[in-house]
């Protein structure tokens, strides 16, 4: 393909893929009362309004909380599992892999409904706890996959050497393995945060009075109002995701792990 043709194709593609975000930003900067592009004059009023809406503040806090805690819990479960599958001859390792990756295969909306009906209602646990457990299971596959990838790149004989030189198994894991898979663990954490933070289908049924994740809250708000404050919020969220991914790529080389 010659250069002009290649760049034409790529420009058109990027207009389709990235263009909508520029439009969100434009609409969010509008001074008028309804969504419009090009905006009717420029103002930051809709950005201010986002911060004044109480429900957005509380659902944002819940989403951040979930985004931090669920990848952490998933790593606590996932790191030992990935380590064992890489180092030991675990019987049924394939079954474990399949089980752990089930959350990717089963559509989220079904999981949300199933958990609501057969976990939340019978046991009476709070929606918040159910969301936390569900999101942990949801990011577990990413944690296992990313950490397994870094385990595969780590030679087993370094660890064996540490053990033969008198290190305990746990000591060897903490002092030899863990520092070497640190990058993978961080990458899994960031990927988990972004996944949990943007997640909709599971949280659709797992939301109750006072406990809703930010994306669900936004959908609810959009259904009743058509003002540009959702555009402002969407623009802020897009900027947040881009900043996280950019920083992760810059400092960690995130794309090596994904």
């Amino acid at each position: 393909m010659n250069r002009i043709a290649a760049w034409t194709v790529i420009s058109l593609l990027l207009v389709f893929l990235i263009g909508p975000f520029i439009i969100i930003l434009g609409a969010a900067l509008s001074a008028g009362p309804v969504m419009a592009f090009p905006p009717d004059g420029l103002s930051l009023q809709w950005f201010e309004k986002v911060f004044s809406i109480d429900s957005f503040r509380s659902s944002f806090a819940i989403s951040i909380w979930l985004g931090l805690c669920s990848p952490l819990a998933a790593l606590i479960l996932g790191v030992p599992a990935s380590y064992a599958m890489a180092r030991y001859d675990v019987r049924g390792a394939e079954l474990v892999r399949l089980l752990v990756s089930a959350p990717i295969i089963v559509p989220g909306i079904i999981v949300g409904l199933a958990l609501l009906r057969y976990l939340v209602i019978p046991t009476g646990i709070g929606i918040g706890l159910a969301l936390f457990l569900a999101h942990t299971a949801l990011v577990l596959p990413y944690a296992v996959r990313v950490v397994s990838a870094s385990m595969d790149n780590l030679r087993a004989d370094i660890e064996e050497a540490a053990v033969m030189l008198g290190c305990s198994r746990l000591g060897a894991f903490l002092r030899v393995v863990l520092p070497n898979i640190r990058g993978g663990i961080l990458a899994a954490f960031i990927l988990g945060f972004v996944t949990s933070f943007n997640e909709v289908p599971v949280a659709l049924f797992l939301s109750g009075p006072g406990i809703t994740t930010l994306p669900i809250d936004m959908i609810g708000y959009m259904e009743i109002t058509y003002d540009p404050s959702v555009a402002a919020l969407a623009a802020l969220l897009a900027a947040l995701s881009i900043a996280i991914v950019f920083a992760a790529e810059r400092f960690l080389g995130l794309s090596r792990y994904v």
Partner: protein, 280 residues
């Protein structure tokens, strides 16, 4: 691994068990109960009446076919555009290739709610498309709450997955394969069918599976751009539960969705391996 240090099977098992049990307890058990619900008749006992009721209703059948149709259309379109785009991106020098690749995967990291919302602004009655048409004196066209809107939204949402899969497949292609075929007089159509397609089949299958299952199970896009006028299986499930507390239909839809996803996985994987064997 069978070395002395890693020989202990019990340790290995006890390290993997927590993750496996957690996934089983939170996913497998509740989902299995949910799926079994549709097989119990009104008077208890095994029954398929929920399924026959579901497929007897023409509105539900329409939703089923629409979901399948949109899934296939989005996947095919993403594959066609994906090949052209991936080929263009791979032909760039490494530095700009990396940058463009970053821009292509960027949308994947952004909230799908934000991504779908943009299309409201673009396709709405006072949106960019209609405003532009208005400049030429054309009456506004209703895009929102049509299949077209849902199609466009899904395509934008999932196309990066196809492009990424195809790029990694093309990067593994021997770099002189295409120039060699051209030199030997093959037309571009022949080059695509006889060289590029066979060598990138695996990437196409991975991308196709991701796009197809993603489109089938997307909720936000049909909910926002299709509304109750253009229901897909996911939005129908949500509506049956929230509006009518009709858990039998929800259970039926859940099994259909899971089977469609598994089916797509199996069929496409089969396709990839069979063709590779005949090509070799």
């Amino acid at each position: 691994m069978s070395s002395s240090v890693f020989g202990n099977r019990t340790t290995g098992l006890s390290l993997t068990l927590p993750a496996a049990l957690f996934a089983a307890a939170l996913f497998l058990v509740p989902v299995a109960i949910l799926l079994s619900e549709a097989f119990v008749g009104p008077e208890g006992g095994f029954s398929l009446s929920a399924y026959s009721d579901f497929f007897a209703d023409p509105r539900y059948r329409a939703v089923f076919w629409r979901t399948l149709k949109l899934g296939v259309l989005v996947t095919l379109t993403a594959a066609i555009i994906g090949y052209v785009a991936a080929f263009a991106i791979v032909s760039l020098p490494p530095k700009s290739r990396g940058r463009i690749f970053g821009l292509v995967i960027l949308p994947l990291m952004i909230s799908p709610v934000a991504r779908t919302y943009a299309w409201l602004v673009i396709l709405g009655r006072t949106g960019i498309v209609n405003e532009t048409l208005g400049l030429f004196g054309i009456e506004p066209i209703r895009f929102l709450f049509t299949e077209t809107a849902v199609f466009i939204g899904l395509l934008q949402l999932f196309m990066p997955l196809m492009i990424v899969s195809l790029i990694s497949a093309m990067e593994n292609m021997p770099s002189d394969a295409v120039p060699a075929a051209r030199l030997l007089g093959a037309s571009w159509v022949q080059v695509f069918l006889r060289v590029i397609l066979p060598l990138t089949r695996e990437g196409l299958v991975i991308g196709g599976t991701l796009v197809f299952t993603g489109s089938l199970t997307a909720y936000i896009t049909p909910a926002i751009l299709g509304g109750s006028k253009v229901l897909m299986l996911e939005t129908l499930l949500y509506q049956r539960v929230t509006v009518a507390r009709d858990f039998a239909s929800a259970s039926v839809i859940a099994l259909i969705l899971i089977l469609m996803c598994f089916g797509a996985n199996l069929v496409l994987r089969r396709l990839a391996t069979v063709k590779r064997r005949t090509a070799a």
